[in-house]
Subunit: 328 residues, 2 copies
């Protein structure tokens, strides 16, 4: 099977690639070719015996999607796009990257000919929802009223993906990722960055800024779980999925205080003491509009799994990113 990953140089893209190479296959089929694309050069994955095509290109540019589709990948993971903070500060870039990129990809698939009918797994986001929210949790069928341009673009993509799936142009599935935590590496432009920062920096011996009250409640899943969702989504048959293809993914719903408690349990009070409270009005206002909790009955029934405890999310980070070592 030929697998295409867009946004392959990103954090999730790299982890997904490594997992696919390690598994040797996906959706019950061996992988003999990987096409990895991103706007920055993707790395050639180590230990893959099949063919790898690395394509440095912007999916929003004319003709790029056609080129990527020319090799008829049977499975596509569409992860490319700009993050929420950037989509909000640069409206043009956000619509171009997040919406036009998806439209180009869908159009290239539709017009490919010779009964081409791939599976497309799309990373959407819980940002498709906007406050006010039901306290019991946001169900899959909660109305789409995004409060950011990023959420708007993801919701528009979900709609077109559902339409193209209904029309049997492809088999689409949209997975609405909760906040990915602990995000490795340097802080990015996402307003949600502190949710990871308050765990990542202290574990690495550095100070972290907490810009919101520790009563803020949020839902998280580890990068390992996010990759697991993608792999599982690729396995789901159209029959099992049914007509409503965009799904809220599971996660661990905790307050910031509970995140910090978990950090204390796992790494001790000295590490947790590296969190510095510096309230930021802008971030507080943005975060106040975010969803806290999800009703994920359907995705759990469909077999999607996240961590059960925030402690596990921290452990995954220590195992996968820190080689098991904490800076005390």
């Amino acid at each position: 099977m030929h697998v295409l990953i867009t946004g392959a140089a990103g954090m999730i893209g790299r982890k997904l690639t490594a997992r696919l190479v390690k598994d040797g296959g996906a959706a019950g089929k061996a992988i003999d070719k990987l096409t990895l694309t991103d706007i920055v050069a993707p790395e050639k994955p180590a230990g893959f015996s099949g063919r790898t095509d690395l394509v440095t290109a912007d999916l929003a540019d004319e003709g790029i999607a056609q080129k990527l589709i020319a090799g008829r990948p049977e499975l596509i993971f569409h992860l490319a796009g700009v993050v929420s903070g950037e989509a909000e500060t640069n409206l043009e870039k956000g619509y171009r990257s997040n919406l036009d990129g998806m439209r180009n990809l869908l159009e290239a698939i539709r017009t490919a000919g010779d009964s081409y009918h791939p599976k497309l797994v799309f990373t959407s986001s819980i940002a498709v929802f906007g406050a006010p929210f039901p306290p019991a949790g946001i169900p899959d069928d909660f109305h789409l009223t995004p409060l950011t341009s990023y959420g708007t673009q993801k919701a528009m993509c979900e709609l077109q993906l559902a339409d193209f799936s209904r029309r049997n142009i492809l088999d689409g599935v949209g997975i609405r990722l909760p906040t990915i935590c602990v995000r490795p590496g340097k802080p990015n432009k996402a307003a949600s960055g502190f949710f990871s920062g308050i765990i990542r920096e202290p574990l690495a011996g550095m100070e972290a800024i907490l810009p919101v009250a520790d009563t803020v409640r949020h839902t998280h899943a580890s990068p390992r779980s996010a990759v697991g969702f993608l792999i599982h989504a690729a396995e789901l048959s159209r029959e099992k999925l049914g007509p409503r293809i965009n799904l809220n993914m599971p996660g661990v719903c905790v307050t910031v205080a509970e995140q910090i408690e978990a950090l204390k349990r796992i790494a001790g009070p000295k590490v947790a003491g590296r969190i510095k409270r510096e309230p930021d009005e802008l971030i507080m206002r943005i975060v106040a509009g975010w969803s806290e909790r999800f009703d994920v009955k359907r995705s759990v029934e469909l077999g999607f799994r996240a961590e059960s405890l925030f402690d596990d999310i921290i452990r995954v980070h220590i195992e996968d990113e820190l080689g098991g070592k904490i800076v005390n």
Copy 2:
């Protein structure tokens, strides 16, 4: 005030133009310029003392939206687009006309400069919703799961309009029209055509086919009401509208049997006797997936008004289209 109407050569576009000319203004301001655009040549409205620009062009073509926006219309009615049947049979044309047309218009507004900030009234549709529906009526905040490409495109447009309004690029309002009845003109093959046909043809002395059971329930508003919705939407202040700018419009919710009873009351049994029952399995199946009833509490509170009785819808047709005359 300068008013731009896209889709001005269509049925609603023509009626809206005539009403604006008759009123002499909208949203409390006198109209001194009308720009009418459509892919077929719009007619110059009779009796308008201001300047009229007629533009035969496709909004989906490069540069057209910029040209239309160059004159800085303060009020825009965006009615242009292809109808549901055509969007379903010609996917490319539907996305181009309904989605790209809107995107071009929004982009032209965004990039116009000099603090340009128009009011934009967009005709969306109840097709943004898909079955199964709540029996008590579909509220504004029912989830968006369109079952047609047309509904998908309208939902995508609603989302971007809401985002651009939230970002204060313009003042947008999306009005979700119910089925317009009695639609003037010739019978067509649209699955919903019979709702108008069973009134229009008998009143004109012709036979009409009823392809569904007379227990079928549906919501209707007259062309006159549709124009009234547009005019009222243009008057609504941003403050009154709030952040959720896409609204279900009111209408008369009746069964086909009640439509026929109303026709009998107004035109007599001989006219109503011209309805011929010819069940059509395909049309019955399509209609079964349509929404029956809406929760329009919010739009009614905001001052939108439709007819109260189906009798009134028939009377509007006789007054506006038949010069008060029925063929007995």
